[in-house]
């Protein structure tokens, strides 16, 4: 399957934070949810993909092209939604359109108008009166008006109410009707991903832990609960990390079937949530 984004062996160091030999791929035609705690390197990765930040070494390739030679060709095909406000506060959405439209070769005014109507965005009110959700929708309308093939979103649902988040998911489902379209979005509200993400990319502490099909995660990983007497030096090796309390233990395994073979009916095996995986992975490192 074709990759839209390929980061290979990226090194980047900042004061107090470092990404080492970081590689990820994003598959074309699917939604990839990008998860990890605060400071795990999600925003840095997105900035590297957008060329807002330059790696110390390694390669970034988008649509199979690199930024040195094809910066404009690449960005022509990307739509972006950021966590922070990127609009001129005193301008209206109409003015923003006047600024952004000429930047794209394939801007489609009809499409823009259609999404503005659909999202119920006011064209003549200044951007500072827009709520966070409206700004997110405005970014999406712009992304869709130039028929972006790759939509990159940094925490699009942070600070939005549940109804708004549900609406966004409907929009994304609508967008994915086009099989050439790819969505890559970071979030730490992992329940947003249950209904939309095809792949999950998990980073922790500047390190790529995995990229997997969502259903594979549920097949491979499991939360295991049992009594403390089941644990010894050997059995503890089966888990990524273990939370022990007076009443028993709860642990995460990355090999569900093996654990079932070892412990059989003596433990309870449950489907893990992404939060479980994030929590236990962090604990185990």
């Amino acid at each position: 399957m074709e990759n839209v984004i390929e980061l290979q062996h990226i090194h980047k160091s900042f004061k107090g934070f470092e990404i080492k030999d970081f590689s990820i791929n994003v598959k074309k035609g699917f939604v990839t949810g990008f998860i990890g705690g605060n400071g795990a390197g999600k925003s840095t990765t997105i900035k590297l993909i957008m060329n807002l930040l330059k790696q110390d070494s390694g390669t970034v390739s988008v649509f199979g092209m690199d930024y040195k030679k094809h910066e404009k060709d690449i960005k022509e095909r990307i739509g972006f939604v950021y966590d922070e406000n990127i609009f001129y506060e005193n301008l209206t959405l109409k003015d923003m359109k006047r600024i952004i439209k000429p930047a794209y070769k394939n801007w489609d005014d009809t499409a823009f108008q259609r999404y503005v109507n659909e999202f119920e965005l006011p064209l003549n009110k200044s951007m500072k009166t827009f709520s966070k959700g409206m700004k997110m929708k405005a970014s999406l309308a712009i992304a869709l008006a130039h028929h972006a093939e790759l939509i990159i979103m940094d925490e699009p649902t942070a600070g939005l109410d549940p109804i708004f988040r549900r609406e966004l998911l409907n929009i994304l489902h609508e967008l994915m009707q086009n099989e050439d379209r790819t969505i890559f979005f970071s979030t730490h509200i992992t329940t947003d991903l249950d209904r939309i993400a095809d792949y999950i990319t998990f980073v922790h502490n500047g390190e790529h832990i995995f990229t997997k099909e969502f259903y594979k995660i549920e097949e491979e990983y499991a939360i295991v609960k049992g009594t403390l007497d089941l644990l010894d030096r050997e059995t503890e090796q089966e888990f990524i990390s273990i939370r022990k309390t007076n009443t028993g233990f709860e642990a995460l395994t990355a090999d569900k079937n093996r654990v079932i073979n070892i412990f059989g009916d003596t433990v309870i095996v449950e489907k893990p949530t992404l939060e479980d995986i994030m929590y236990y992975t962090k604990k185990g490192r």
Partner: protein
Amino acid sequence: MVNLILKDIIIQKNTIIFYIATIILYLLVDVSPIFLGVLYSVVFIMTAFSTDEKGNANILLNSLPYTRKEVVSSKYMGALLFTSVIIFIIYLGDFFLNGMGEVFLWREILLIMGLVMVTISFILPISYKFKSKHLLMILVALVGLYLVTITILIPNLHDILREFVQNFLALQETQMYFVAILTTVILYIGSWLLSIRIYERKAF
């Protein structure tokens, strides 16, 4: 690139009327067109710059299909364009309000252009390197230094400056003009290249 220059006008569209109104007011009370030209040009250019900086406009611009080279170049090309337009407005206003008077008009225009270019050559790379809020501090320090200098060391600095302007306008030798223009252009291009270098290394 033209789009980026137009953008600098769009983001200031609400203040343009204010700029023109105050220019007329200043002309009515006979403020020197040279002073007005330099002041308004620099203010216009730098207001656009700090508006970009204040919001996350740099993130926006660099996510759009523009190269960093284009973003910087639009500022330098825009500066020349805006200065020309402002000079045009000032002299047009001056003509209607005060009538034809000046004989060596083109020398004044050249002087405004030159002064703006020299000022911008220094301000832009500093603003790209540091934040323009630091620029304000640098400016305050410079004004302080300037005040100290004129009061203690060169009490007649204003006279010297005035004399320089008079001398410049009275220069007869084309060779001198040529050297002055060449120096300014080289400075401007050097500053332009330096700003691109600084901007290309920035992280947003």
